[in-house]
Each structure stands twice: as structure tokens, then as C-alpha cells.
């Protein structure tokens, strides 16, 4: 609303094509099992499926009943069962149980498993081990990319983060490469690829190989540049509280697949409603990127305008009234509905945040980012833990402390002790995960082994454990946040006033306190057309940066087309709505358009919950 838009910004490509592609392929796959069948759908595939097809589509292709995969014995009476699942051992094991139960019962059915977006050898191996390989046919539904909005595409793979960054499993690397390949074939050819992070490098390689394997058609590129970034290059940003409208809505109500469920509290009725949040919602589109403090003013102005529009009726004659009703009223009603919804949401969020002393929480976060009054921050966090206030919040603050202050390792032991006392001792599993990931750093006295080492040591036998120290020393991460902050000016001076109405840089998404590292890197690299001059920065980020250009024979590369100003940013391990808002801001400033491709939309709670290991 307050931003001036550079008129020369190029148009975004039309991504609805990706949905059509996925739908058509699904229909094709369903037809591979002719006749009536019951369809079992993995719970977290239901929303993505909803975005591209509806029940009618499925029914038209002989799907009789729809079930959610619940890992329980099934009740279906159909002779044909189709399973639409993620390639997960747990789900495949369940299917094996279903099939084997049928066998024991002397029941004959036909089974088909459709893995999305791809199958894994480990899953097929399980089918083989369970003796049902051959009884079950398998297929792949290459549904790599779900467009959530005009400029957001998600792989809907939240487990990417844990699998790659925690477990060190590279199973999704090729998936990321294939997703990129799909975008390249439809909206490319890309002419430049920048990136940082080990996974980004591997995804790039996988994509490049797939390009070489396939054929290339010469066509006008719609997307010219690509930026790949690993989530662990910047773990600080997703751990910060979000204060931009869309991010805040996600933090509080959790946006799932572009859709949010507003509770009765918001709708001021007795039932909750599900609302799609995207650029189609005109009211939302204008406030999504705004700092929360600016939203109220905007909404009330909007409400006044609406009132005026309604009031026009009073002086109208019959004819005018008729035109009004036929032309304007519907739009006004729609706007009215949206407006009251977002006002309700804002009020509800305000209430929730006041209750949890949000101001003080933000103050602590900002102090951590600035490296200011750390002692006070620590005692704030300690009290937070001691009073058993939300565990995820406590963990989040501790991780932020650890990521920004190297000295944290000195108090790790006592802090983890407090945490386990307040939230349950079984969380020592969670600490082990957070340490593994580098979110918490423990002091290393010479003789104790790291968790990974002692784990592995046990796996082998105790004698060899000592030799592992070298192999794992690379896992120990030292935080360079302060130095990076200074180098890249991530933390503006706190004594200057920051006008949130007219933001001057991307820091506005965190109330002017911090420019997200991820977005700053993107800005810098695009500005310099590479990593030159950022050597010290990349060294502090553990390297793995690259910038490559397509072979010089391609004539397109030299032509300055619109596609050169469209940049596809791929986050491996998830990105937050705040980062998307920051990139939109950057795009407006520089006359660029950013398309965000992410393995999933994330936020601090999702990130930390994926590290929990405290339930059976």
C-alpha cells in the first residue's frame, strides 16, 4: 500500500500450468487401475491434492470411496485398493500389513501404490521383504511443485528439513533437482544459477545432469536467473518471531497449503471457517507484506471507504440503484466480508500477543540479534523456562541465543538441565537433535564424545570410537552471526528511528531490527552478479557458494530480456512468509520479480517441532 511500484517490473509466469500437469498425470495413473477402486490418501497429501483436483475429478475416474491413511486396519470392501502416499517406510509397512492381512484371510484384491513425488528403493525393498512385491503395483506421481500463489511454489515436503539437515539423508536431493528441472523445461532455459550451501550444490548438479540427459528445446525463457540456498545457511531468520501480517497469521493460526482456519474467536460466530490466503483476496493482498502495526490503520481506512461506497445509495434514483446493485454491490459485499474477517483476525492476534507479553519477548529477541544486554536476555529465558511457559518458545529463544552468542556453550549444560526439569526429561532426545543440527552448541571438554560419536561408537564397538573424532569434527559449527551482521549490516543502529510506514530496507519485516541474512545474501549476489567481494562472508558461512552461467554459445544469455529480471529463489529446507515479504520488498525496490520455490513453508514452531522426539 505505501510502496511505490516500479512500473517496469516484469510479469510473473503463469504457474497454473503446473497444477494442470499434476492433475492430468494423476488421472492417467488412476486409469492404470481400471474399474472401481477405493483410494487411500496420505494425510499430508490431502491438502495439496485439494488444490489441484476435487472429489468429482476423482469420482469421474472410478474412485469409489476416499480414505485417509491412518495406519489402522481398513474397512474397505472394494476389490481394488489404491494408495496415494509419500514414500515413507511407516506407510509402506502399513500397506504390507493390510495386504498380508488380506492374504491370511484368503481375500483377493488388486493393489496399487502411487508414490508422490517419487518412490524410494527402501520402500520397494520393504515390499519385497514383506513378500508382497508383485502383488502390489507401484507408480510415481511426479507432483513436485504446488503453486501456492502467483509467486510461491512449494514442494510440500516439510520432512526435507529433518531428513537432510538432521539425519544427513540425501534422499530428497534428486527430488529438488527434478523440481528444478521441471521448472527449467517449462519456464526456462535458465541462463544463470547462483547458490550457497552443500545441498544447493548437489541439487544443482542433479538438475544439470537431468538437463543433459533430456532434450532441450530452444524457446523464449520466462525465468532467467536462479538462486539456490540451504536453510542452514541462515537458521536465525526462521527462528525470529514474525511481525509481518502474513507471517504473524502463520505463526498464530498456521497457514496450511495456502489456507487458514480462522477460529470462532476471529469470525465472531460459533464456527470456524477456512479461508484461502493469496493474491486473489484483495484485502489480504494489500496487507500481507505490511508490518502488523500498520495493518490496523489500513483496515480502518478501508472500512471507511467501504462505508462511503455503501452510503452512495442514499441519493440514488431507481435506475442508478439498479446499476449499483448489479455492478458494485457484489464487489462491495465481498470486500466487506474479507474486511471483517481480517479485522477479526487482527483483533484476535492482538489479544493473544498482549496476553503473552509479546513486547517483552520481541525486546529480548532484538537484544539477542544486536548482541546487547545478553545477561538480561539469559535471565529472561531462564525465567521463561522455569515458569514452564510454552516449551517451543523456550527452545526457540535458547536456539537464537546459541546461534548469536558463541559463549552459549558455557551455559548449555545448565540450560538443558532447566529445560528437562520444566518440560520433561525425555527431551534429552530433542537436545541431542538440536545439538546435531548445530542449533544448540555444547562446550566440548576434551574427553567427552559428541552424541553422534558415542552413538556411532556404540554401533561399531567401543574400541574404534576414538577414530571417529576427526570424521565428525566438521559437524561442530561455530556461530559467526555477529561478524556476519557487521559485515553485511544486518542489524541497523538501534538509536535511529525506523519508520515502518515507509520502510527503507528489508529490516522492516522485523520492525527495523534485523535484515534477514538469507535475503541480504540474495540481494548482494544479484547486485554483484556473483560472489566477488563476499569472500569473507562465504568463508564464515562454510563456503559452498557458486555462480554459474550457461555456455556462451547460447545467444539468449546476452539479450537483456524480461526473464533476466525474474529470479527464482529456491529454499532447500523451507522458508518463512517474512522472507517472502522481504524479497517482494526487494523486488519492488529493484524492479525485479522474485519467485519463491521452497521445500515447505516454515516458521519457528514448525522448525522446532520437527526436532522433537518426545513422543512414542
Amino acid at each position: 500500500m505505501a510502496h511505490s511500484v516500479r512500473r517496469d517490473a516484469p510479469e510473473l509466469p503463469d504457474f497454473s500450468l503446473l497444477k494442470r500437469l499434476a492433475r492430468d498425470q494423476l488421472i492417467y495413473l488412476l486409469e492404470q487401475l481400471p474399474g472401481r477402486k477405493d483410494l487411500f490418501i496420505e494425510a499430508d497429501l490431502m491438502s495439496p491434492l485439494d488444490r489441484i483436483a476435487n472429489v468429482t475429478t476423482l469420482k469421474q475416474h472410478d474412485v469409489d470411496k476416499l480414505y485417509k491413511v491412518e495406519h489402522k486396519p481398513i474397512v474397505s470392501t472394494s476389490d481394488q485398493l489404491c494408495f496415494l502416499i509419500r514414500p515413507r517406510i511407516k506407510t509402506v509397512k502399513w500397506i504390507c500389513d493390510v495386504v498380508n492381512a488380506d492374504k491370511a484371510f484368503g481375500r483377493f484384491r488388486r493393489y496399487k501404490i502411487i508414490f508422490s513425488p517419487q518412490k524410494f528403493y527402501a520402500c520397494e525393498n520393504l515390499l519385497e521383504e514383506q513378500g508382497i512385491f508383485g502383488d502390489v503395483t507401484t507408480d510415481e506421481w511426479s507432483f513436485y511443485l504446488l503453486p501456492l500463489d502467483d509467486d510461491i511454489i512449494s514442494l510440500e515436503l516439510p520432512e526435507f528439513f529433518r531428513d537432510y539437515f538432521l539425519e544427513g539423508d540425501q534422499r530428497w536431493v534428486r527430488t529438488a533437482g527434478s523440481a528444478l528441472h521441471l521448472l527449467h523445461s517449462v519456464y526456462g532455459p535458465f541462463s544463470k544459477v547462483y547458490g550457497i550451501g552443500r545441498c544447493s550444490k548437489m541439487a544443482y548438479e542433479s538438475w544439470r545432469e537431468q538437463v543433459e540427459e533430456g532434450e532441450q528445446r530452444a524457446r523464449q525463457a520466462e525465468i532467467g536467473n536462479v538462486f539456490l540456498i540451504d536453510r542452514d545457511v541462515d537458521l536465525v531468520t526462521p527462528l525470529c518471531s514474525q511481525v509481518v501480517y502474513e507471517g504473524l497469521v502463520d505463526d498464530i493460526f498456521r497457514i496450511k497449503c495456502g489456507c487458514v482456519e480462522f477460529c470462532p474467536d476471529v469470525t465472531s460466530s460459533d464456527k470456524s471457517i477456512k479461508v484461502m490466503l493469496n493474491s486473489q483476496d484483495k484485502v489480504f493482498n494489500e496487507i500481507r507484506n505490511e508490518h502488523f502495526s500498520q495493518v490496523f490503520g489500513f483496515l480502518s481506512q478501508k472500512a471507511r471507504n467501504l462505508q462511503t461506497a455503501y452510503d452512495k445509495r442514499s441519493g440514488m434514483d431507481i435506475k442508478q440503484m439498479k446499476t449499483f446493485v448489479s455492478e458494485e454491490l457484489k464487489g462491495l459485499k465481498q470486500e466487506h466480508r474479507l474486511l471483517s474477517l481480517h479485522i477479526g483476525a487482527s483483533e484476535s492476534m492482538m489479544k493473544k500477543k498482549t496476553k503473552q507479553d509479546f513486547q517483552e519477548l520481541l525486546k529480548t529477541e532484538h537484544s539477542l540479534l544486536e548482541g546487547f544486554e545478553i545477561r538480561e536476555c539469559i535471565s529472561y529465558i531462564e525465567e521463561h523456562i522455569n515458569r514452564q511457559v510454552s516449551m517451543v518458545e523456550s527452545m526457540r529463544l535458547l536456539c537464537l541465543l546459541s546461534l548469536t552468542e558463541n559463549a552459549f556453550s558455557l551455559i548449555y549444560s545448565s540450560m538443558s538441565y532447566f529445560l528437562s526439569q520444566s518440560y520433561g526429561i525425555e527431551h534429552l532426545l530433542t537436545f541431542s537433535n538440536l545439538k546435531q543440527l548445530g542449533l544448540l552448541v555444547e562446550q566440548q571438554p576434551g574427553e567427552t564424545l559428541t552424541v553422534m560419536e558415542s552413538r556411532v561408537g556404540k554401533l561399531v564397538n567401543d574400541k574404534t570410537a576414538g577414530k571417529l573424532t576427526d570424521a565428525f569434527s566438521s559437524l561442530a559449527k561455530k556461530s559467526n552471526f555477529r561478524a556476519l551482521g557487521r559485515r553485511l549490516n544486518l542489524v541497523p543502529k538501534s538509536d535511529e528511528e525506523y519508520d515502518l510506514r515507509v520502510p527503507r530496507d528489508m529490516a522492516y519485516i522485523f520492525s527495523g531490527a534485523y535484515i534477514p541474512l538469507s535475503c541480504k545474501l540474495i540481494e548482494q549476489v544479484l547486485e554483484r552478479d556473483g560472489w566477488t567481494g563476499l569472500e569473507e562472508v562465504t568463508r564464515m558461512l562454510n563456503g559452498h557458494e557458486f555462480a554459474v552461467t550457461a555456455g556462451s554459445n547460447g545467444s539468449d544469455a546476452r539479450v537483456k530480456t524480461d526473464s533476466q529480471r525474474i529470479i527464482l529463489v529456491m529454499f532447500l529446507g523451507g522458508c518463512t512468509f517474512s522472507e517472502i515479504s522481504a524479497l517482494r520488498f526487494l523486488g519492488r525496490e529493484k524492479g525485479l520479480k522474485f519467485i519463491v520455490v521452497t521445500t515447505a513453508i516454515t516458521n519457528s514452531a514448525r522448525l522446532l517441532e520437527s526436532m522433537l522426539d518426545n513422543h512414542a
Binding site: Q25, Y28, A471, H615
Partner: protein
Amino acid sequence: MWREHKHVFSISNVFKLKESKRAVNSIRSLVEEEDEEDDVEKVSWSGEPVGSISWSVKETESSIRSTGEVRDQSFPKIHTAPSLPKNSSGYSLSSLFKEHSEKLLTSLILYLLDCRWSVHDDVILLWQDYVSDWTPEETVKRMQQGKVYSLEKFRSLQDKLLLLDEAVNAHDGNVITAVLIYLKKSLSKEILFRELITREIALRHYIHYLKEIGEQKLLLMQYRDHLNVRDENKRRDFLKNCLSFPFSPDDATHVQDHYTLLERQIIIEANDKQVESSGQADIFKKYPRKASILNMPIITTLYYSCFYHYGESDGTFSSPANIRKTFRISDKQFLLTCLGARAKLKAWFDVDALFTTKNWLGYTKKRSPIGFHRIVDILQKNNAPVQVLQDYVNLVEDVEQKISLAQKYKCHDVIINTYRDLKDRQQLIVYRGKVERSSSEYRKIEEILSNSVRW
């Protein structure tokens, strides 16, 4: 058996991949009206499968031919990982036969298609003969592309490791795990682990795989299994059993605490349940227990103990002092928890006693390990009356903070006295305007203002 299916899938894979690309392009061409020079043979999704498959075979052929060609717009390869020593000498011969092999592959596919998927054993044999010529690199590539492959020929340890290293070099976790599954079946545990120690990436894949199929029973995972034990006595025994595991010192302390805690909770629970149902104790009658204390965190247990067992002697398991000592609870933690519990019961006298210390002369003084402004906050959240609150607001050292808290919680006396002590006549006059004319506060301000001695 497996391979045979793989083959069937591989064709459908290629088919689908090409198909989706083609579909995209066909949609696009409607918009752009581009004329294409190559073999456009538009295939609809629900089109004739036979025709599509033969088409896909053609595609397979062409894609095979095109591999390795240098393209104009190609991107450079980047160095992705520390390269592993490669020993390809044993495979150089097979590359000579490559062209021949690909032709054979194509004809095999066509043959299999003609058989309408019913694969004969001799074809499989032929297939195996053929397959055994692939190098580790080719094998990995085929696995990545979902094409038919065979691992059986990798029999010597050296071959197996070359294959593994090649899979790691290809960065495809799916393939790395597939190779590891094969190695798991064909190598002894000791040898496999010995080799994995120096291969971090492969090792992590292996551990994750074992974890997922539920075979990994390592230290922390074993401890984790207690979560599956529902019955509390069995769970306690399970934890007791865990005590003997060689955990790191930190983890060992945690596990020991966990065992002790559950042991105590079982005793407390049994006792309190009985006392509650017999109706002997007032506290349980007045505040019936909402849930059992079993499996609650230490701090929750302490809170419970401060709520129901306050004042018990140190000797009993359920007394706050005993819990504090056993679990090495810090002063701050103890104070905050105790404060919360006693404030909830509106036991203001107990609250007061928490902060009161006597020095050697017998004078009492209020002390707290955390700032009194936080104490005020906690008391207020527990609905403490103004009379109680203002005592603690008064103890806040920072004057500005004291006044703002006093204003927030309407502790008029504190505000008036503070301004009086600061000799801030102006603020007093301002504040007089904020209180009711008929109130005692108003009178008090009047009194102070009119007392000329002060000013």
C-alpha cells in the same frame, strides 16, 4: 523377480517423464503457436497406451543416444564434494561395448513389449548376462533414472565399495540407501561398519535407514523406547534397566533423574489417591486433583508438592524440600514454582515468608533471587489483591519501574509516597487529577501538598 518389475516400471517412468514434458509443451504451443521441427507426436493422457509406449521407447533410444553430447547451452559441472579415490581400471573394457550394449537394451525392451509384459525366464537370463557389464558409474546412473540394474555382480569388497563411493558421489540419497541395503544383505555387520566409519555420508544414510525400519537400537533410541511402555511400573523398571547403559555423563544424569522421578511419582500418586478418596485431607476436598502426577516434569511435580504437601518435613518423598534437594533445583526455580503454587492458593503469608530473611541481628529483610518487578508480575497474574501487590511494588529498586508498575496495578499509595519522597510536587498535582475527588488517595495527596514543611 524384482528386476523384472523394475524393468516394467522403468519404462513407465521414462514414459511419464517425457509425457509430462510433452504435455506441457503441447499446452504451451496452443498459446504460443510455435511450430516445432522435431518429431511431434502429440499424445493425450488417456491416449492409446500401446502407441504411447512405442513412442516412449523411441524416446528412450534418443535419450540414450544424446547422453554425453556437448550442448550449447549446457551448464558447467561444479565441484560438489571431496572427490573419492576412483579405480575404474577394471571397467575400461566395457566402455568399448557401450554402443553395442545400448542397441541390445533397446531391442530387449522392444522384445519385452511384444511379449505384453509377460517376461520369460530366458529373457531374464539374457538380461542378466547383459547387465553384468555395467560399471559402478553406469549402474548408479541407471538406478537414478529408475532403469533396470543389477547389483549381484558387485561381489568383491572392492567392487562393493566402489559402487558405494560412486553412489555417494552422485549425491542421490535414494541410491545410496539402495546400495547400503544390498551391502547389508551381502556383507557381515562388522565389515560393513568397519568400512562405513570412514564414509560419513554413507554412514548417516545407513543409521537413518536402520532407524526408519526400526532396527536401530542405539543408546538414546533404546532410552526413547520407554515412551512405548504404558504401564507406569513397567516403565519405571524399563528406565531402571537403562541406568546401566554407557551414556555420556550428562545423559546418564538425566536418565538417573528420570528413573528417580518416576519412582517417587508412583509412591506419591498411590498415597494421594488414597488420601483423596478417603476424604481425610481438606486440601484435596477444596482443590480436587485434576490429573495424576505420573510422568509429569520435575517442575510440575514440585508445583504439585508445593500445592498439596507444603510444610511437610524434609524426610518425606512428597515434601518440596526433598524434591528440591533430590533434583538439585536452583533457588530461582524453586522460588518461582513455590510462589506460583502458594499464590494460587492465596496463601499470602507463605508468599511473604519465601522472601523474608533474618540477619544475625535478628532484623528481617526481603530478598529475592529474581527482580521484584517479576514477582509483582507473577502475583498479579495469580490475582493477588492490591494490598499484597503494593508491598512488592515497593520493593522494586528502580524508581521509574516502580512507578510504572504501581500505575499499571493501581497501587495509589506507592505512587503518592514515591512522589512525596522524590519531592516531586508537580507530579503529585498531576496525579491528584487522576484519582477520585472523594477518595482517601485524594485526601492523602491534599494533605501532603498542604504540608508546607515538606516543600
